[in-house]
């Protein structure tokens, strides 16, 4: 299951949702809004998505994970809109028979999401500066989980 959400991510429910009798391991990754990047202080991140393509790419990642690891279930959810420091911007929950597979599958899913899913964040700093984060382009990336 994949989705974009404008509401807070209920990661406890997502974690429960992937649990299976045949899965002895569950790994849940949460990306949360960090307060400091270097010496720049973030007060909020504004997430924008290209929704149909973002959900399509997330569904591809889910399919890749299912093809590569014997997962019980896998869930990817990403927030949209404005998030304050500490809020959960992304959650990936994976269940698998053993922990090595669960960790590897979860790691792969979040890494791929950050590479290919058309979602962007704008860093809102405490000095009033607003800056879109476009990795590889100056100014350097800032803000959320990295």
């Amino acid at each position: 299951m994949v989705s974009l959400s404008t509401d807070a991510i209920d990661y406890e429910t997502l974690t429960e949702a992937v649990r299976r009798p045949g899965s002895g391991a569950v790994v849940t990754f949460l990306g949360t809004v960090r307060d400091l990047t270097g010496d720049e202080r973030t007060v909020a991140l504004e997430y924008e998505a290209y929704p149909p393509m973002a959900e399509r790419k997330m569904a591809e990642i889910e399919a890749e994970v299912r093809a590569r690891w014997p997962v019980g279930d896998v869930v990817l959810v990403h927030r949209r809109g404005r998030l304050g420091v500490g809020e959960v911007s992304v959650a990936v929950a994976v269940s698998a028979p053993h922990r090595a597979e669960a960790f590897a599958a979860c790691r792969y899913a979040i890494d791929r999401l950050k590479e290919v899913v058309p979602i962007w964040k704008k860093d809102l700093a405490d000095d009033g500066q607003e800056k879109w984060v476009h990795p590889g382009c100056s100014p350097a990336s800032a803000g959320g989980e990295a």
Binding site: G31, A49, L113, K114, V117, W120, W132, P135, C137, S141
Partner: protein
């Protein structure tokens, strides 16, 4: 010349002042043609444009991909989800 609308996001959307831009392209336009048109339009954003991908019908497209009438075209600057 045919016109195509291009969806814009993040910095490029704000740079253009709206969620899409319409440009005129030759009949045989490709993804590369679209990139050239935008680079001429926004010389100050060439660095970001060079690092941006183009999606056609919600899938990343190669430079030689032909744009046909009715295609959904989007400019995808480097992503920063997570």
């Amino acid at each position: 010349m045919p016109q195509i609308a291009i969806r814009l996001f993040a910095h490029l959307r704000e740079r253009a002042g709206g969620p899409a831009i319409t440009i005129e392209v030759p009949d045989t336009a490709t993804v590369a043609t679209v990139r050239q048109c935008l680079a001429r339009l926004w010389p100050d954003a060439v660095g970001l444009l060079e690092k941006s991908a183009v999606a056609v019908n919600e899938e990343y497209a190669a430079a030689d991909r032909t744009i046909r009438p009715g295609d959904d075209v989007a400019l995808i600057p480097p992503v920063s989800g997570g």
